[in-house]
């Protein structure tokens, strides 16, 4: 009996000692969760590699990779913030993080940034995520849009390719699209001049080129939605190319741009004028081998500007490991690592120095042509207001669909937009 008692006491003691030792080592190591919706396999691999490099190098701060999905990330993060379960570092789009900033969920990271990073980040990229002087996240990648075209069809139809010095304006685009649209003997369309999916995305990304802001800041800091001459001209332009020129397939109208690609590869669509720069990965991996394609310089109306949207790394305001998180972020987005991430995600980096990186300054896959877009980035009032998602979903998208389907007149569409936007902004 005595022996059993001694053994029992010894076991208890050893468990205790081990437990304390474990607890001590747990106390020393800080574990951070890094949640990202990165989806391109090459980008996921790069991120994981960088995390592994960090975990090998760093003993006290360990980072765990958590996979999110673009389709559900907003809902996931909003519920995570509400329940206090948000990951220590999260990767998301600037328009969403701005909204989280308005709700007080995310930390102003500006005081935590190193001087080197502050200077190196593109000022417009920082502006995409700044409100009232507070920076809600670290912008890492630009989301740019490009125009891709089928080289053979352009050659067949004798279309001159515009250059960076002499880019197309919107009348040039229209004329080319008309020329590229071909009709069969029975009157049906054989080939469409342009492939455009959700017209609302075109409306918002071409907005800056037309100086069409939609949202205007009043003197008392409130937002007012107005359809003025520029906005009206853009809406009318989109209506006319769809309904009068008939150069865009009605079949594509509810699709996302990337869903038009099969038609682009088949030659049923001659060009796609508003598609994410990341789409090049899909073309390289999925297009037929002999498919010849190119990238056109950014279109120009009053300006060549593009709606600047960035991908951002954020830190929850409730986090207790902000400084540790920032240490890791500084490593993740150092000059070379950020270039690696951008290259593997087929996007451009927001650090000026990374943009000059050798792997990106190449003509392969039109990297250099695409980098042109980065020079024309500008922050729209719509993105800056934090109302972007709601105005697009509730106002611009449904009413544009009504207009394009001739359910309402242009005048009625403008009235509806203003009324509906007023309803959104008042709440």
């Amino acid at each position: 009996m005595k022996r059993i008692l001694i053994i029992f006491i010894l076991i208890l003691a050893s468990v205790n000692v081990l437990g304390i030792a474990n607890a001590q080592s747990d106390e020393e190591v800080i574990k951070l969760q890094f949640a990202t919706p990165a989806w391109q396999p090459s980008c996921i691999e790069t991120l994981k590699d960088i995390i592994n490099e960090w975990n090998k190098k760093e003993e006290k701060i360990k980072v765990e990779y958590i996979q999110l999905d673009w389709g559900s990330i907003h809902d996931y993060l909003i519920t995570a913030f509400e329940t206090g379960e948000a990951p220590d570092i999260f990767h998301y789009a600037s328009y969403g993080v701005l909204e989280f900033g308005n709700r007080g969920y995310v930390e102003n990271v500006f005081p935590l940034l190193s001087e080197e990073l502050k200077k190196d980040l593109h000022p417009v990229a920082l502006e995409t995520i700044t409100k009232n002087g507070e920076v809600w996240g670290i912008p890492i990648l630009w989301e740019g849009d490009i125009t891709i075209y089928n080289k053979e069809i352009f050659k067949e139809e004798g279309i001159d390719i515009p250059t960076s010095e002499n880019p197309w304006n919107f009348e040039d685009l229209r004329a080319a699209a008309k020329k590229l649209t071909t009709i069969r003997d029975d009157g049906s369309v054989e080939r469409w001049g342009m492939g455009v999916g959700m017209m609302v995305t075109v409306l918002t990304t071409w907005g800056p080129k037309f100086n069409a802001d939609f949202l205007y800041e009043t003197e008392d800091g409130k937002w007012e939605f107005k359809i003025q001459e520029n906005e009206k001209r853009l809406i009318k332009y989109l209506y006319e190319i769809y309904n009068e020129d008939k150069v865009i397939s009605p079949e594509n109208l509810s699709l996302h741009s990337h869903e038009i690609l099969p038609d682009f590869y088949k030659g049923n669509v001659a060009m796609i004028p508003n598609i994410g720069v990341w789409i090049r990965e899909n073309i390289v991996s999925a297009a037929p081998e002999d498919f010849k394609w190119g990238v056109l310089p950014p279109l120009k109306d009053k300006t060549q500007n593009c709606d600047a949207r960035t991908q951002v790394l954020g830190i929850p305001a409730a986090s207790e490991t902000k400084e540790e998180a920032m240490k890791f972020i500084e490593f993740l987005v150092d000059r070379d690592n950020l270039a690696r991430i951008a290259y593997s995600d087929w996007l451009f980096p927001t650090r000026k120095s990374s943009l000059q990186s050798e792997i990106l300054q190449t003509d392969e896959y039109y990297w250099k042509d695409c980098l042109d877009t980065a020079e024309h980035m500008t922050v729209t009032t719509l993105s800056r207001s934090g109302y972007s998602i709601e105005i697009v979903n509730k106002v611009l998208n449904p009413i544009m669909q009504d207009l394009l389907n001739d359910k309402i007149s242009l005048q009625k569409a403008i009235e509806n937009m203003e009324q509906q936007a007023e309803f959104v902004l008042q709440r």
């Binding site: 909003i78 079949e251 509810s254 699709l255 099969p262 709601e390 449904p398 669909q401």
Partner: protein
């Protein structure tokens, strides 16, 4: 004393025996109260508040304010019209299709068990997967539906099923009918099998033909289960949003916008759970009203019988 005895026999006051009975009910009552009743009441209450997601947001009781906004909300008003069409056509086609399949499955054929299992397949698939699958089928340029219809010579040009004002709602209804029909079929099949075969035999002796048997025996015998199914289907379809969310996202131009889709977006996209709860309350009221109405109808009929 007499009163106590009376109450005990009526089951109002506990006897020693049914004290144990109530004791055994406690665990399930706690679970129902905690996980079903409390969230429901809380949800109803939130509909009367200004609850918004965010740090240090105060929860203020705002009375009927949300409902006043609701009736100014163009998207919500539009969604009510969509709901009427959505519920009516879904329930109608689900019942007809379910009945038809139940009758087929009730026939004595070889491998009928296998057929019965196969019928369940669409119902077993997760709703979002069904939605994504059908999004591919409906794709205007490479979707299988356009290809089949073109090969059969029914259409000349591809149709943008989910993007056109005419076809988006019917296309979504079709997917919902396709996926929920198995439930209706199995429930009606169970009902069909409870019908006493002697009734059919007796009617055969009386010279009834197959249609007369169907109208005078099968239909009346399935009345109770049919009412239950129709009530359940109405509740489910009014609350369904997953398929529409994946297929059309409410578009084009709001032609497939359902109130529950709006509620989801209000809560999780725009961070206004209070307003979303108000939409939920409105739908709840709608369902309670519908249920009460159908209950009264069935009660009246029973009394007449």
């Amino acid at each position: 004393m007499k009163i106590t005895k009376f109450l005990k026999t009526k089951g109002i006051l506990l006897t020693t025996r049914n004290k144990e009975f109530y004791f055994l009910l406690i665990p399930s009552c706690i679970i129902i109260l905690l996980f079903s009743f409390y969230p429901l009441l809380r949800g109803v209450y939130l509909g009367f508040t200004n609850y918004k997601f965010g740090v240090n947001k105060e929860l203020i009781f705002t009375g009927l304010d949300n409902f006043f906004i609701l009736f100014k909300d163009r998207l919500f008003l539009q969604s009510l019209g969509v709901t009427v069409k959505w519920v009516f056509f879904n329930v109608f086609f689900l019942y007809i299709a379910g009945f038809f399949i139940a009758l087929l499955l009730n026939v004595d054929i070889k491998f009928k068990e296998i057929f019965r299992c196969l019928t369940l397949v669409p119902w077993v698939i997760a709703p979002v997967v069904r939605g994504l699958m059908w999004r591919f089928f409906y794709n205007p340029s490479y979707g299988v539906i356009n290809v089949i219809l073109k090969n059969m010579g029914i259409i000349d040009n591809n149709i943008n099923w989910l993007g056109s004002y005419e076809y988006a709602l019917p296309a979504a209804i079709f997917v919902n009918v396709w996926s929920t029909t198995p439930f209706v079929a199995v429930a009606l099949l169970a009902g069909l099998q409870t019908i006493d075969l002697q009734l059919y035999e007796a009617s055969s002796i009386d010279g009834a033909n197959i249609f007369q048997k169907f109208i005078y025996i099968t239909l009346p015998q399935l009345k109770v289960i049919s009412i239950t199914i129709i009530i359940l289907l109405s509740i489910w379809t009014i609350n369904a949003f997953d398929i529409v969310y994946v297929l059309t996202g409410g578009g084009p131009g709001g032609t497939t916008n359902l109130p529950m889709l709006l509620a989801y977006n209000e809560a999780f996209k725009y961070g206004r759970p209070g307003y979303a709860a108000a939409i939920g309350n409105f739908v709840l009221l709608f369902v309670i009203f519908g249920l009460g109405f159908s209950y009264l109808i069935s009660k009246n009929r029973k009394e007449k019988l």
